[in-house]
């Protein structure tokens, strides 16, 4: 009897229980290979790999490139930036214009609907803008819309009331922060789960496996002007650039977009025999060295100017980044209206130790100047370490500076850099919208987002003036003045400007067409030969 009871717990019983458990879990699980509507025959599916991450697919909770890329494809906006264009044109609106310096009015196109059939009208558009402010998510874009004080719907018109005159509004409306959402689906005061979002753009969310994959399928109710060259886009999220490259070579993905390392790009360029190529396009991502002007050594302008004389941007671009980036000589990158090259004009394109020495001597600064240079290893790419080793060497050129390098993880870095914890440190910037103001206002007005202590009322005045200036030629003049002041005061040293790039399978078309300063990856342009 005892023996029989024991048999109940014998290996066979345990094995059977385990098998039954697996069966139950399997039964609860999804089905593999039998879902007919997602990848039917004759449909074009594009698979895009990336090391970016999605923070949120609800536009009110997204202020990062990883989230904005799918958002720009899921939602429509009042305005849009056509590929290669520098200005915005109407999208969900039939027309938009300034009806007064502080009122921007858009007339909605008739008959637009979201992918669930709900109407996209002026009320929905007004709701979308007011909602970003109400949700006020810390990781969201509410700070970008602070100048839009109120959005109201009047018939088929959306009226945006601005705090101050602002010429950047049309471009702002075309960005991720201007995505139009369905008031019947999105809660007014809180974020919606990323898997449940509804838009009216070219694609709709078919499936979202957090951290792993996002499947976008053609939105049959899309009534915009963009023609889709594919039926479905699968975005695959990878942890490492090396994995991204291997997946492209292996054919598991069609496009490797953000972020392949320069070494990977060079290697892929030589792999045309494996059916892989690299495409480049203009970009507006920048990197710069920031000075905290409340503390030494950056407290003295002469020290900052001397450092500017010592930087060799060409060497960094070629030695560290294999020329996948370009030297940057202004806070406003090339390709945007009003860009000038004041750092080149004042400090030259090659290091000038003699002038740096003279600058320090004239200011009575004893050398070597001790400097702690901070950089971040996990946010700006794996080459930041090499870049800042080079910059440290360049600063030490001629014995004028004595540099100690320090690094810390991104969460601490991001938080502490705004608390005057780092005297000299690495930072980067991705554009929110392709306008020079996006490289000026956030950086310098009232001390700027990075809280470096640099405050120049004249510069603030010029920046505010250019933002509201209706006359383009006058605005360009003001932009030039602002860039000149930045180069003279050196609150930061621009280092490089990135080019957009992607590794693609050789049968893929349209990737190059989407690369421009707007940073929008328009999936609908990508097709297969």
């Amino acid at each position: 009897m005892l023996h029989r009871r024991s048999a109940l717990f014998g290996p066979a019983a345990i094995g059977a229980t385990a098998a039954a458990g697996l069966l139950v879990l399997t039964a609860c699980g999804g089905s593999i290979g039998n879902k007919s509507d997602s990848a039917g025959k004759g449909r074009t599916t594009i698979t895009v790999g990336t090391t970016d991450k999605i923070i949120a697919l609800d536009p009110a909770g997204a202020y990062d490139q990883g989230s904005w890329t799918p958002i720009q494809n899921i939602y429509q906006h009042l305005m849009t930036v056509e590929p290669g264009a520098k200005t915005a044109t109407p999208d969900a609106a039939s027309s938009c214009s300034f009806t007064s310096p502080t009122t921007y009015t858009c007339t909605m196109k008739p008959g637009l609907t979201f992918s669930n059939g709900d109407p996209l009208d002026a009320k929905a558009a007004a709701f979308s803008f007011n909602r970003v402010d109400k949700v006020n998510d810390p990781k969201g874009p509410s700070s970008l819309l602070t100048n839009i004080k109120k959005a109201t719907a009047q018939g088929n018109k959306v009226i945006l009331t601005l705090g101050t005159p602002d010429q950047t509004v049309p471009l702002l409306l075309a960005g991720g922060e201007g995505a139009l959402v369905d008031p019947k689906v999105f809660p007014e005061n809180k974020l919606l789960d990323s898997g449940k979002v509804i838009g009216s753009g070219p694609y709709k969310v078919a499936k979202y496996d957090v951290g792993s994959q996002l499947v976008l399928s053609k939105n049959p109710k899309y009534k915009g002007s963009d023609k889709l060259n594919n039926d479905q886009v699968i975005i695959v999220y990878k942890q490492k650039a090396s994995d991204l490259k291997l997946s492209l070579e292996n054919g598991d993905i069609d496009v490797a977009y953000r972020t392949l390392s320069p070494t990977d790009l060079q290697s892929l360029q030589k792999e045309s025999s494996k059916g892989v190529k690299v495409v480049y396009g203009p970009g507006a991502e920048i990197r710069y060295v920031d000075f905290d002007v409340t503390t030494q050594p950056g407290k003295q302008k002469a020290v900052r100017q001397a450092a500017a004389y010592l930087v060799d941007r060409k060497q960094i671009a070629s030695d560290v980044y294999d020329n996948s980036v370009e030297p940057l000589y202004s806070i406003v990158p090339t390709g945007l209206i009003g860009n000038t090259q004041p750092f080149k004009d004042i400090y030259g394109t090659s290091p000038n130790v003699a002038k740096a020495k003279a600058m320090l001597k004239a200011a009575g600064v004893s050398t070597p100047v001790k400097m702690t240079l901070w950089w971040n290893p996990d946010h700006y790419g794996e080459l930041s370490g090499d870049e800042y080793a080079d910059i440290a060497k360049q600063f030490e050129n001629g014995g004028l500076f004595q540099v100690t390098r320090r690094s810390v993880d991104w969460n601490s870095y991001d938080e502490d850099s705004k608390k005057h914890a780092y005297p000299v440190y690495e930072l980067g910037w991705y554009p929110d919208f392709p306008d020079p103001d996006d490289y000026l206002s956030p950086f310098f007005i009232k001390g700027g987002f990075n809280n470096t202590g640099y405050d120049n009322p004249t510069l603030d005045q010029i920046i505010n003036a250019q933002r509201g200036e209706m006359d383009q030629s006058k605005r360009i003049q003001q932009l030039s003045q602002a860039q000149q002041i930045v180069a003279q005061d050196v609150p930061l040293i621009p280092i490089w400007q990135g080019k957009q790039n992607a590794g693609v399978r050789s049968n893929i078309t349209g990737v190059k067409d989407t690369f421009d300063a707007s940073f929008n990856f328009r999936f609908w342009l990508v097709g297969k030969k």
């Binding site: 717990f9 290996p11 699980g29 290979g33 951290g211």
Partner: protein, 334 residues
């Protein structure tokens, strides 16, 4: 057996309670709270205070503690910063980890036991030296390093196997939400295309993680077989003229199994920690992969939920091992 089983199951309760208490306390040793840690510096103090209040972090710690225990007991592990249910994450991603662990363990046993047995039988011979060396190397080699080497060889150089993921991107897009035991799904549904794709993706991560355990298995089997082969009952069996192969398999190996099963059970913790690195290396959509993402995002509530599950898994596995031991060796029950 029943009394032993009841006593052993009752012991699980204080074990789980102690582990959950430790998890709760450890995550509160650091100053501040999860909301402040994740969002401090990004929000105005008033908004931060509102969120702390909404999440209940301004309540006395003892109240938070009992609330946490109540939630875990009811199967509610809280929500991630992005509003996802941690229980759902554990179910979906945990099943991918389970699949990986099953095949890693299977690989370790299939490779480790025969090598360990042969090493034990031919002590100090050439094969024994090779076996011991192999065991040390596989145990000592970092999982991520081994994984990268395999990726370089089998993906980059030979092009035989995919570099990462649990299944091809296009096939994954067709799978609906839910636990991802893709191997078993494809097998039970007779989907040979899917099965072949899943197996190709499974080989490298399972072998990488399996090799970590293989070293332990080899050394364990070897040592125990050597010990049991020196036993009087083995000598007696030999004296009765029983063939050597049968002596080893029926008398020595079977008796050597008890400590092997015990130690192998304890390897569950090693498998879980190894799976974190393996999943990171191979972009495997398991619970370890998610844990790293939550740690990077300072999502302490999600981390707390997942570590709680890890702790419970280790306790449950040790319970199962005790039961199996009791079956294999009746002395254990008394």
């Amino acid at each position: 057996m029943r009394a032993y089983l009841v006593a052993r199951i009752l012991l699980v309760i204080p074990m789980v309670w102690i582990l959950l208490t430790l998890v709760f306390l450890l995550l509160r040793v650091a100053p501040g709270d999860p909301i402040t840690a994740a969002l401090g510096g990004q929000l105005p103090p008033a908004e931060l205070a509102r969120r702390r209040h909404a999440a209940g972090f301004d309540r006395p710690i003892i109240v938070q503690y009992f609330d946490y225990l109540r939630q875990v007991v009811s199967g509610n592990l809280g929500k991630t910063q992005q509003g996802e249910s941690v229980t759902h994450v554990v179910l979906v991603n945990g099943s991918a980890t389970l699949e990986l662990s099953i095949f890693a363990l299977l690989f370790a046993l299939v490779v480790g036991i025969p090598i360990g047995l042969r090493c034990g039988r031919r002590r100090d011979g050439a094969f024994d030296t090779f076996g011991r060396l192999f065991g040390i190397i596989t145990y000592a080699a970092p999982v991520f390093f081994l994984g990268l080497l395999f990726q370089l060889l089998f993906t980059k150089k030979l092009g035989w196997l995919p570099p990462s993921g649990q299944v091809s991107s296009t096939l994954q897009a067709e799978i609906s939400d839910g636990p991802h035991l893709l191997f078993f799904e494809a097998l039970f549904k007779g989907d040979m295309t899917g099965l072949s794709d899943v197996v190709k993706h499974l080989i490298l991560p399972a072998v990488t993680l399996g090799l970590l355990i293989t070293g332990v298995v080899i050394r364990l089997v070897r040592v125990n077989v050597i010990q049991t082969l020196q036993g009087d009952y083995v000598e007696a069996a030999r004296a009765r003229g029983i063939p050597e192969r049968r002596v080893v398999m029926r008398h020595a190996f079977r008796n050597a199994l008890v400590p092997i099963v015990t130690v192998m059970g304890l390897q569950a913790a090693l498998l879980l920690s190894g799976s974190v690195l393996t999943e990171e290396t191979f972009n495997w959509p398991g619970i370890g992969n998610r844990l790293i993402q939550y740690l990077q995002n300072r999502d302490y509530l999600a981390v707390q939920g997942i570590i709680s599950v890890f702790a419970i898994v280790v306790v449950v596995v040790s319970l199962l091992i005790d039961i199996v031991n009791a079956i294999l060796d009746p002395r254990v029950r008394y």
